[in-house]
């Protein structure tokens, strides 16, 4: 079972373009420019996490979890399958760092991922309750739906905190 000392226990890890829903711990390690897009249902205490890599699918339907525009409807739909109602969902974003100063402007995929996710969430009126995004440092995120949707982040410099 999940416990307070969860940073050392392995949960289900979500790789690039993958997603998971449920009540037990979900983690995503080593987020760089990628973003962990999290939905939490405060009524059912369930949640989901999708590991988004790029902002725009350009119409591709393969691996919807990889792209911001397809990941948002995907995760909402998966939460609804689990019995969630859209009005109980809140969104949380972690990641989207820009680790290489040289990848600027259009090449700053982290920032573009965040902007895209915010735009689609806004369109669907899902409130973003917390975020830990941008910066230059990699992150690992742990999400505990059954523990009031607690989200813990560990940064590359060793700093740990909860959102």
């Amino acid at each position: 079972m999940d416990n307070q000392n969860a940073d050392h226990s392995k949960g289900v890890n979500v790789g690039i373009g993958e997603y998971k829903t449920g009540i037990s711990k979900i983690s995503s390690i080593g987020l760089g420019s990628c973003v962990a897009f999290i939905l939490y249902d405060r009524k059912l205490k369930t949640g989901g996490l999708v590991h988004v890599m790029l902002p725009d699918s350009n119409g591709k339907t393969e691996r919807p979890g990889k792209f911001a525009d397809t990941a948002v409807p995907l995760l909402i739909c998966e939460m609804e399958k689990r019995g969630s109602s859209r009005r109980n969902l809140s969104a949380h974003l972690v990641g989207g760092a820009s680790m290489f100063q040289q990848f600027k402007g259009n090449l700053d995929i982290g920032n573009r991922n965040i902007c895209a996710l915010k735009e689609y969430l806004n369109e669907l009126r899902i409130p973003i309750e917390s975020e830990d995004t941008g910066g230059t440092s990699g992150r690992t995120v742990y999400f505990f739906p059954e523990d009031e949707g607690k989200i813990a982040v560990r940064r590359a410099d060793g700093k740990c905190y909860e959102l």
Partner: protein, 205 residues
Amino acid sequence: MDLNDQQLDMLKEMGNIGASHAATSLSQMLMCEIEMTVPEVSVIDISQVNKYFGEEVSAMVVFEIQGEIQPAGYIVCHVPKLSAIRLTNTMLGSTDEDRDFNEMDESAITEIGNIMISHFLDATAELLGVVMLPSPPMVAIDMALAAFENIIAQVTSGDINEIILFSTELKSTNNDIKSTIVMLPKEENLKQILVLLNNLINPEI
């Protein structure tokens, strides 16, 4: 993308030549022997990248491969943090390992990466008979997986779900330093490289 055994062998050989040149340059800089592993070539699904790279903080010197085959992808010199500190200690004659990574380490590792990768690319380019040049180095001191993810996002540009990893480990037992050279070629350019390698084996065709 499926690679057959012969293609994998050719790529390993190319990696071998490149890495041995990089090892020689590292050995000259450190003035000690460098051991080198047989290169591994693996085709990895992007969702599985976390099995290859972890959260350990490392120094990564990243280059875009430029030249005749363009844009060819990225090549990375990956040195775990403690090894990176030992590396600069060796160069600067210091022994304090229990410290944070500082600016001096960062610029030393950038330069070492630059020299190693330049040798690696020079050797492979000469073998292939094309010009391959490294871009100016970009450096990140961060979780290895996070940096590779960032590079993969650049390499795959959305429509590729697999990357070709190409890695050789260089080790100095004297100083207990480990480093890995990882090449992340774009798929279309990997095909070009394979054609060039094939021409080397079957020159009459």
